[in-house]
Symmetry: C2
Subunit: 340 residues, 2 copies
């Protein structure tokens, strides 16, 4: 197993460097990452999803090649590439199955074309799993073997490490935390279920709940913003709440309450050491963390001794490619890395 502490004993005898690539609907993030987790270089290019799967796979290859050339110019050889991709992937077949934010992609092979173009070992992982691996290795999950991460954005995803290992599930579809049902017979979720966490506590759902109440005529400082911008964001809601707006505070508090229910339920199922709040909404910082913690303490049974730490993610948008680098290091025999 990879030495998570990084660093070598007895000085820099050798350095293994890998490439981590995080494919998103808007952009592709890539980085050169050393065996101890240091990011030597990061690059971002537009996904250009409109060009279709072949075009995007070509852009992944070009990004990997440019990072490899950059490494070569410093005399460093790259040991492998890890790729994170949205939605379902088949690691066995090396393909992206049906990414929600890359329309018209269906079972697109990725591992084979990238491998044949650049002749390096290629690993493929779901992007939510890659992000939890990144935080586990170098971020908010350091020194912690049993950790779940809730990724809060337009939707809600996540990942879970048990005993220091990623738990992918029987059908490689574990940690779909956004689709835990938190309201019996609740509002429709775009997944087809009703009452999903995502339908109440995602950034989208939070903004929609506030918008709805302002439209219905409730008094709020958000009214001016809505009239001017035509739409609200979760950031608008949390900022207005922090500035003392009562409606915004209620909406934000509801969001934190639903997230806390999810954390309580995760704890009763998995009995974790730590739960990480990540994704775009985690940029809200203290208002998110304090809100979720307050509701968690209210909702969770009073037994001491089995409460998880609730923390914010630390790596931001870098978590995905850093986690992919971790995978690439493992594939490259990372077990032996970090010990001189």
């Amino acid at each position: 197993m990879l030495n998570r502490s990084g660093g070598t004993k007895g000085g820099w005898v050798s350095t293994t460097v890998v490439i981590g690539i995080d494919l998103g609907g808007t952009d592709i993030k890539g980085g050169l990452v050393a065996h101890d987790g240091r990011v030597l270089e990061r690059r971002i290019v537009a996904t250009e999803a409109f060009g279709g799967p072949d075009h995007v796979v070509g852009r992944i290859i070009a990004l990997a090649q440019s990072l490899r050339e950059s490494a070569a110019s410093r005399g460093i050889e790259v040991a492998g590439v890890g790729i994170g991709a949205p939605g379902s992937i088949s690691s066995r077949e090396g393909m992206i199955v049906s990414p929600p934010n890359l329309p018209r992609w269906d079972r697109v092979p990725v591992v084979e074309p990238v491998r044949s173009a650049i002749s390096l070992p290629i690993s493929l992982e779901n992007d939510a799993n890659a992000a939890v691996l990144g935080e586990f290795w170098r971020g908010a999950g350091r020194d912690c073997d049993d950790v779940a991460m809730l990724t809060l954005g337009t939707g809600i995803g996540g990942g879970v490490m048990l005993g220091g290992q990623l738990w992918r599930g029987r059908f490689e579809n574990a940690a779909e935390f956004g689709h835990m049902i938190v309201e019996m017979n609740g509002v429709a979720c775009k997944c087809g279920q009703r009452g999903c966490l995502e339908a109440y506590a995602s950034a989208t759902a939070t903004a929609a709940r506030a918008t709805d109440r302002v439209w219905r005529g409730e008094a709020s400082s958000l009214k001016t913003l809505l009239d001017r911008a035509g739409a609200l964001t979760a950031r608008d809601v949390v900022e207005a709440a922090s500035a003392g707006d009562s409606l915004a505070a209620q909406v934000w508090d509801e969001t934190c309450g639903y997230l806390a229910v999810a954390c309580v339920n995760l704890q009763h199922v998995l009995n974790l050491e730590r739960i990480i709040l990540a994704g775009g909404m985690s940029a809200a910082g203290v208002p998110l963390l304090d809100g979720v913690r307050r509701h968690f303490d209210r909702l969770m049974w009073p037994d001491v001794g089995d409460r998880p730490q609730l923390v914010l993610a630390e790596l931001g948008n870098d978590a995905g490619f850093i986690g992919c680098a971790y995978l690439a290091l493992q594939a490259a025999g990372g077990e032996r890395v970090g010990v001189a």
Copy 2:
């Protein structure tokens, strides 16, 4: 890892036999179990919990000794003892921490006194985990590595196997399925939370919901039964529902609905191959299984390919001591058992 298929190649060259003991609030079940899972003998004695911890531990020792003597009379040597106990246990310290149905027990050492009395290796496990190990080995979880079990009785407990290993959790308190919150701000649960699965879908809660509605004057065949017996059971409810009573059918359907929400949420978190419905309520059989399956199919997203099998437990009250025997076999080097 223990060969779950049991049986020896090339005939009965050798047989490893262990003792499994399942401590309950009312009785203590014990069995002599062969390496292939055959139950050679089973015995039940009263717990006599009124006598206090020392008395009960003495009864465990006496039961183990009588089973060992029975084995000796057939020329069989016992390789070890596995003990399952209610509530929290500390496997490291070999003690029962605070069993809910053994009042006034607090941190009672079990492993050491039993070991010194009978000089055999002793394993200790939580009873819910022991039961899932039993079903995993010889019951409804056969040929399945990723399985959760919901134990439905007075309360709701459970256990979970991931990748063929029991997942105990960071604080040895995983799989507390009964305390997943299924109703925000719902009814009070005796654990101190509100809206727990157990407070809606346990046998106790099911009977209480029916009783409440009959008392409030709703028409039901259960009225006569309630007047005569003074109380209803979950069995009364499911029998009346099967006989066509409309109120009973509604109450039972609600119970199945809540259980299905729990199964959906477990699936989104863990992505399992199979979910086993066990415990006293699983004796209801088809009305339970069909009810939970129907609601599960209604509630779970329509994606094919990641649905768990929902099944009934197969071992009944034997699951606990059989699972304890499995533990004892593993401790006795079960890896080498079952291959001549």
